[in-house]
């Protein structure tokens, strides 16, 4: 594994938690983002993620550096999976260790917000009756929603 990576195989979150653990760490937060079946009344069949892989890994590492500067003593690892993901599959894992717990929560939440801002990864939702690449506009096939 790399500390900041885009992968195509199922994610084992424990690897990333283990990576960030150190004797100085009193707290580790591990966030996993999963494919959710229902979003605003629309049933997702599965998701397809695509990435601009080299840039995405660079941006993930950049987020890690931002965090390690912003919150002293933290250590970060992030992985995002691409390809077809089924309901409950892990799309993203963020592991943060810190001497103290408050920082571990804050820094972890910061990471997911930044991922959603700057990392070139895209999600396509596939419903029973259509599909769409999801971006800022968050369009949904309104007429087709049951």
């Amino acid at each position: 594994m790399k500390a900041f990576e885009v992968v195509t195989e199922p994610i084992n979150p424990q690897l990333y938690a283990d990576y960030v653990l150190r004797p100085e760490a009193g707290a580790v937060t591990l966030f996993t983002g999963h494919v959710r079946e229902w979003t605003q009344g629309v049933r997702t069949m599965y998701l397809a993620y695509e990435a601009y892989v080299p840039m995405a890994e660079k941006k993930l590492a950049e987020i890690g550096r931002e965090i390690e500067v912003k919150w002293e003593g933290t250590r970060v690892a992030i992985a995002h999976r691409i390809g077809e993901l089924q309901i409950s599959d892990i799309a993203v894992v963020i592991a943060v260790s810190s001497p103290h717990r408050k920082t571990a929560y804050e820094a972890n939440e910061y990471a997911i917000e930044r991922i959603k801002e700057i990392v070139p990864i895209w999600k396509k939702e596939i419903w029973e009756d259509g599909e769409e690449w999801i971006g800022d506009q968050k369009k949904k096939p309104k007429e087709e929603v049951v």
């Binding site: 601009y52 840039m55 660079k58 993203v92 959603k116 801002e117 070139p120």
Partner: protein, 77 residues
Amino acid sequence: MIELHYFAGIRVLTGIPKESVNFSNQTVEDLWKWADEKYPGIRNSSARIAVNEEYALPTDVIESGDTVAFIPPVSGG
């Protein structure tokens, strides 16, 4: 020559994932104009342009050999 990469919704619009085009010593703004002529609507897609894996400003200059990507609004996580 520069290499252009298209992703997600932008790739649907262009119909191709990448292409090489003759382009050098022109700005990102110039590339937008060229692209919008070839792929009408691409400019209104809220995409950003990255040059060599970094988000670029409209005034940044693109050199021959650069890799350029059209980055539609990201939706990872």
